[in-house]
């Protein structure tokens, strides 16, 4: 198994051998289930668009909870030192941890697939819109996890990492919302950086390469910075 696979296995085991994975999944399913059933009752529309729009808030809170311990805890407990001296690259460490957190994120959103069964039970949903929404959810998850990892890399305290991560994601959400409907380069930049517009397009049933590239490139950029931060520790 490659080094990345080993790190991945170690991290995913750590998640599922501690209560964190189960708590996160349970919390998410309660909230997303509430939004789903309430929005279905109100709108009477066989779509996930409205319930997923609300779920973005919950994901902004839960993604940093998933990532908060990834690097912060290792720095605090000193377990990162053996990792730094092992025959393993910084990229493999960071990427393995990222994949583990992203996997947990995807396992967390997987139960929402039950909602599609409910939608089919009461009407005929537009499966194209649902597929594009899930593609968006998965890509957005990678982006959220990478932000959480960046914060975890620059702090030593898990709680601080979680709080900063949540604030950062909510800011990204808010600047996207605040810039909607405004003109000018500043608002256009804010709209591009903010997550709202990119995510909304997926929920409508459109796959736009601008949104895909936004999520993928932002995730890659943040992971690159995380690798550089981890690498810098060798030389301090």
């Amino acid at each position: 198994m490659s080094n990345t696979g080993t790190i991945f296995q170690r991290e995913i085991s750590a998640y599922f051998l501690s209560p964190i994975a189960y708590v996160v999944i349970a919390v998410f399913t309660v909230f997303s289930g509430y939004f789903f059933s309430v929005m279905l009752g109100i709108t009477q529309e066989t779509t996930l668009q409205y319930s997923l729009a609300y779920s973005q808030f919950i994901l902004s809170i839960l993604a940093p909870v998933i990532t908060m311990r990834l690097l912060a805890e290792e720095s605090k407990t000193g377990t990162i030192e053996p990792l730094m001296t092992a025959a393993i690259t910084d990229f493999e460490v960071v990427f393995g941890k990222f994949l583990a957190a992203w996997a947990l994120y995807n396992i967390m959103i997987a139960p929402t697939a039950f909602y599609i069964i409910f939608l089919a039970w009461v009407g005929s949903p537009d499966y194209g819109t649902i597929i594009s929404s899930y593609i968006g959810l998965v890509l957005m998850g990678g982006f959220f996890i990478s932000i959480g990892m960046l914060v975890s890399a620059v702090t030593k305290n898990q709680i601080v990492a979680a709080v900063i991560g949540i604030v950062a994601l909510l800011i990204l959400l808010v600047i996207g919302l605040a810039s909607s409907g405004n003109e000018g380069w500043l608002y256009a930049t804010m709209r591009y950086i903010g997550t709202y517009d990119h995510w909304e397009t997926f929920t409508k049933g459109i796959i736009d390469t601008r949104d895909v590239v936004y999520y993928v490139s932002f995730t890659a950029l943040l992971l690159f910075i995380v690798v550089r931060i981890v690498e810098s520790r060798r030389w301090r």
Partner: protein, 567 residues
């Protein structure tokens, strides 16, 4: 002494430099905020940014020197590593920005919806592919408006298919300055809200909300048809030239008073029409570039010479919109009777009386307003979109169509009638003094026509059967004059033009005369709301399963794991 002084200075720096740097950051942010609020980089924005930025750089440098950040080997290495991370991060961010920029210019969109909700028709795609002029599309919608999102989404699809469309949105409630700026640029005094403005060079076309939504419930979205037509309109080399005849007491399009018709003139300008006055008698001809001649409520008779000029114009396939009034003062006809008769149109010297309500004590009351509703519109391209709206006429004369005549090349058809119970009162002289009573021998009895259209007859069925290709060949179709005649002008005056159907009836008439009636054939899309039929039991099952049933699974699994590890 010097030691004490040095200690004091150090204390001051250590105590306050952090706060000053923080204040500097606040000043920079505030300056930036001021620049965005006032939309300029004036003194009030530059000053705090300059002072704040100076304080941050100056004090940070001083702190680095004082604390010897670069003096020891360890601190040097730490600083270098930090700088290395920062520089590489900035470098990566620059690459990210370039990728984002390029991606914004060259992108692909895939519509995964089952009904192709965001996909354009092949017809529109072909038009966009051949578009060779830049068009600025501005949405002037309150974001809460019906179909707003769908309008913006489909316009994004237009922008995706061609680089020649630039899309911009203005929230009219939050950005009045930009609305006013746009109105100035378009030279329009009243820019209507909840419209989409298409601009191409000096031409512009406004698509209003009611043109985008099919009015019958369930509402359908016909944005593609309206927007594609607007693109065709603004990219046309030639605007529709409309001349308003003056010199006989006609309503003036420069008149902003209640009786003027400046409102409808603005609506025509929004439809990419060019309007101008024409005095037939002094010019001795109708201008060569005239696409439509409008005679808006003359109160004085036309001379025979003028009528002959109009006759010549019509014979050369001219188009005319005539808005008449009841003969007032009585027995002063405008002189159009004979001319219009050549096109199968009959005008009378009467006033349409409409018995509207039964008032307690006063009995049935006649009113000047004539409400034309769904049942009173005839089947015609002009009226098909406005049948759910009333047109309100105010003091109209009846205008009828002569029965079909084999000798006449023109066919006149009634466009709309007054409601049942109305009649054409011929005793106009005494109308002001006595309550009108229907005289079945002299007055025109219901149905009373209020507007008529006339155009050259279609090819007979026998000809089309023997030559089927002629049915679809536009060149084979008979060409000739087109006329629309209304028995009222007040319905388009500034006072009444904002009634629900009035403006659209007039605009549709103009479009029909200009032969711009929608021929795109892009059908309206149903909203595709995908409604569910949910029984109360079903929603209870869904609610409890989603908020309690599904979440309990990870809790049970987590508890088992915890229990096993505990042992």
């Amino acid at each position: 002494m010097s030691t004490v002084h040095e200690k004091n200075r150090k204390d001051w720096f250590d105590l306050y430099s952090g706060y000053i740097i923080l204040a500097g950051i606040v000043a920079v942010v505030a300056g930036f905020g001021v620049s965005r609020i006032f939309d300029s980089w004036g003194f009030s924005a530059i000053l705090p940014i300059g002072i704040g930025g100076g304080a941050i750089i100056g004090l940070s440098t001083a702190a680095a020197v004082r604390n010897k950040w670069f003096s020891t080997e360890a601190s040097k290495r730490k600083a270098l590593v930090g700088t290395n991370v920062a520089v590489m991060s900035i470098f990566a961010a620059a690459i990210f920005a370039i990728v984002g920029f390029l991606n914004n210019r060259h992108y692909e969109r895939f519509d995964l919806t089952l009904t192709g909700k965001y996909s354009l028709s092949q017809k529109t795609e072909n038009i966009l592919k051949n578009l060779n002029k830049p068009i600025v599309v501005t949405t002037l919608f309150n974001p809460g408006e019906m179909f707003y999102e769908q309008i913006v989404d489909i316009l994004k699809e237009y922008a995706y298919h061609t680089d020649n469309i630039k899309l911009q949105t203005i929230d009219p409630l939050r950005n009045r300055t930009k609305v006013e700026e746009l109105a100035r640029r378009l030279k329009i005094s009243d820019l209507q809200l909840n419209t989409v403005v298409f601009e191409c060079g000096e031409y512009s076309k406004h698509v209003q909300q009611n043109e985008v939504i099919e009015r019958e419930y369930p509402f359908k979205f016909k944005g593609e048809e309206a927007f594609t037509e607007a693109i065709l309109n603004v990219t046309q080399e030639k605007q529709t030239a409309i001349y308003f005849v003056t010199g006989h007491g006609e309503r003036l399009f420069e008149d902003f008073d209640r009786s003027g018709i400046s409102g409808i003139a603005n609506a025509l300008k929004r439809d990419n029409c060019r309007i101008a006055p024409v005095d037939i008698l002094s010019k001795k001809k109708i201008p060569d570039d005239c696409d439509i001649l409008v005679v808006a409520g003359p109160t004085k008779p036309y001379l025979t010479e003028e009528l002959n000029i109009i006759r010549n114009y019509l014979e050369g396939r001219g188009k005319m919109l005539l808005l008449l009034e009841p003969a007032a003062p009585p027995n002063v006809p405008t002189g159009f009777r004979e001319l219009l008769a050549e096109y199968g149109i009959m005008i009378r010297d009467d006033v349409v009386v409409y018995v509207k309500t039964k008032m307690p004590l006063f009995g049935m009351q006649t009113v000047a307003e004539i409400y034309v509703g769904k049942d009173e519109y005839a089947e015609h391209k002009i009226t098909e979109d406005i049948k759910n709206y009333n047109t309100i006429l105010y003091g109209a004369a009846s205008v009828g169509a002569t029965p079909p005549n084999d000798q006449m090349p023109y066919q006149a058809t009634v466009l709309m009638n007054a409601p049942d119970g109305s009649w054409g009162e011929t005793d106009v002289v005494n109308l002001k003094y006595i309550k009108p009573e229907q005289n079945r021998e002299e007055d025109l009895v219901s149905p009373v026509p209020l507007a008529v259209v006339s155009h050259v007859k279609e090819l007979p069925q026998s000809v089309l059967k023997s030559h089927p290709t002629m049915a679809t060949d536009p060149k084979a179709k008979p060409q000739g004059a087109r006329l629309v005649v209304f028995g009222d002008v007040d319905f388009v005056s500034n006072e009444f033009v904002d009634n629900p159907g009035n403006k659209d009836l007039f605009r549709n008439s103009i479009n029909w005369l200009a032969q711009k009636e929608a021929q795109l054939g892009i059908s309206a899309k149903p909203p595709d709301f995908r409604k569910a039929v949910i029984h109360p039991v079903q929603i209870k099952v869904i609610f409890w399963t989603t908020i309690a049933g599904i979440p309990v699974i990870p809790i049970i699994v987590g508890s088992i794991v915890w229990w096993k590890r505990r042992r």
